[in-house]
């Protein structure tokens, strides 16, 4: 059967089959049980003309409730920060528009340079010596950090705060299963991690203590105190942080973090229903040879001109095979480029302003919403741009009702923590106006009543 998507001709296929000694393509498929195979053609509608196809796809897309058509108060790891227009303009350039690090890297000096600048910006923001070219997302960054701590300390336990994003904790548990790293949970009963309890879990077997700040519930953590606990036991401190907040919040590296990871989506990457995201990963120089992922370095060529190279590749699996520091030899170059353009566009003052506005608006919204009868802030710990509300009604019903009125009210916490089934996680970014927050508070009050 002729196919418009398979490039080789019938004659070429026959030649290839001849080489491997098969009579037909069908013969290659005989090991698949007949009952597992579809005996009829796929039930596809006839092909549409391009204009009809676009109309069809658009009508499907319109069924989504997205942050363009709604006022968004959802967060829990993905945030509706403003994406400045230069980002889209720049990434669509042909030289950039690939999600891959090139296989002949040094031929692509422009790509390497953007990655180098990204690494430099992330290292400065996090207060660390070195950042890699990025990993898939915040969750895989954390999982890789746990493996790295295990390798660096030769210890087999990682103490994870329950304030770390539950999905990141699950991904970390998956990664840690193979090497047999045991995960222990440190509670966060009042929003922030109970560090006194965490201290009892951290000991001579602990490779790392992991905290997230602001954590999943929005609460700020005491990074310096956590660093002291980890280091006193000879363990590393891994801090999960959202880099877009670091214009305002102190760099974790300045507070004693050994590894800083996080979800970098807030840095100019659209939410896109959950991905592609940006896995931020930074560490101290002492740990650089244990770092996963690609690393771009600056050097000079034989004529003394500045150039960029992939460096310390000897850590990577195409050289070290099974003994590589990690099985990740790629990055999310396009999302890292978005973050680079974002940070360059906003500059230092812009990033500080994003953090200040987000925090101020979140606190205004929290004050308004907590005044609604029956509603209260669930935790006493200080928060930044996100907070947990306790509601008198099931949050799922409230969210469904407010979506019809044009508000994405927040993320109900029941699926993440059954003990918080009556709670709603609300995030506020710099994009929200006072009028939007006031209108939301009014709709919220009616929906709760």
């Amino acid at each position: 059967m002729a196919s418009r998507y398979i490039a080789n001709t019938a004659a070429e296929q026959k030649q290839m089959l001849g080489v491997i000694g098969a009579g037909s393509v069908e013969e290659l498929l005989v090991t698949i049980p007949a009952k597992a195979r579809l005996a009829r053609p796929l039930g596809l509608a006839p092909a549409l003309a391009e204009s009809d196809l676009i109309r069809h796809m658009r009508s499907l897309a319109d069924e989504n409730a997205d942050a363009d058509g709604h006022v968004c108060f959802m967060g829990a790891g993905a945030y509706d920060h403003y994406v400045p227009s230069p980002i889209n303009h720049m990434i669509l350039r042909g030289e950039f528009f690939t999600a891959y690090t090139p296989y002949q890297p040094e031929a692509s000096q422009g790509t390497l340079r953007t990655i180098y600048e990204y690494q430099t910006m992330i290292a400065e923001l996090t207060g660390m010596d070195v950042a890699n070219a990025s990993l898939y997302d915040g969750a895989s960054s954390l999982a890789e950090a746990a493996l790295m701590a295990h390798a660096a300390t030769d210890r087999r336990e990682v103490v994870l705060s329950r304030g770390v994003h539950p999905l990141s904790r699950r991904v970390t548990a998956t990664y840690c299963e193979g090497p047999g790293i045991k995960l222990r949970d440190a509670g966060a009963p009042d929003g922030a991690t109970d560090l006194a309890a965490a201290k009892k879990l951290v000991g001579p077997r602990t490779a790392a203590l992991v905290i997230q700040t602001p954590n999943f519930y929005g609460c700020l953590e005491d990074v310096a105190a956590a660093a002291e606990i980890a280091h006193a036991a000879g363990a590393l401190l891994i801090v999960v942080a959202d880099p877009v907040n670091l214009g305002v919040l102190e760099a974790p590296g300045k507070l004693g973090a050994d590894i800083v990871v996080g979800e970098g989506q807030g840095l100019g990457v659209p939410m896109s229903f959950g991905g592609p995201n940006l896995g931020v990963f930074a560490a101290t120089k002492a740990l650089v040879r244990r770092m996963p992922g690609r690393l771009v370095g600056a050097t000079v060529d034989t004529d003394g001109r500045r150039g960029f190279v992939l460096t310390l590749q000897t850590r990577e699996q195409h050289i070290r095979r099974a003994k590589a520091t990690s099985n990740i030899c790629t990055n999310v170059a396009l999302c890292a480029l978005m973050a680079t353009i974002y940070l360059a566009t906003l500059g230092r003052r812009g990033l500080v302003r994003v953090g200040e506005l987000s925090a101020a608006k979140a606190h205004y919204a929290a004050e308004r919403l907590a005044k609604v009868p029956g509603v209260a802030l669930r935790f006493g710990a200080p928060f930044f741009k996100e907070f947990t509300l306790k509601l008198p009604k099931p949050p799922e019903r409230l969210v469904a009702r407010l979506a019809k009125q044009g508000f994405l009210a927040g993320v109900p916490l029941k699926t993440f923590d059954r003990g918080l089934a009556d709670c709603l996680l609300v995030a506020v970014t710099e994009k929200r106006t006072k009028a939007e927050i006031d209108a939301f508070a009014a709709a919220f009050e009616k929906a709760v009543a």
């Binding site: 030769d154 040879r289 000897t314 050289i319 070290r320 003994k323």
Partner: protein, 132 residues
Amino acid sequence: MTMANVPKDLKYTREHEWAKLEADRVRIGITAYAQEQLGDVVFVELPKVGARVTASKGFGVVESVKAVSDLFAPVTGEVVEVNGELTQTPETVNQDPYGKGWMIVVKPSNKAEWDQLLTAQQYEDFLAQGDH
């Protein structure tokens, strides 16, 4: 090929480590031939004092500008000394492979393994075969 320096008082492995008997302990490093083949050494990763190493199994890693290679233990035993200087000055491995470029000292647990190692003459013959 110019014949590499192979001191007579040492024993050798086919993976190009040398071993020196010092009373009841064995000092271990890589040979002049090995460091020449590797080129400039930029990083050495060694076990901690107290770790157990096993004959013919990896005990560390040496990284040069060209390659990363595993280090193989000539004998089984407990690591009693580690050359911490190499962390700061890995180039010592190139400059003085049989002296200041030593890597670890092991207290061997199986004396019979010593006799399995190559003599200087056997190692030279092995190098002369050129197939390694």
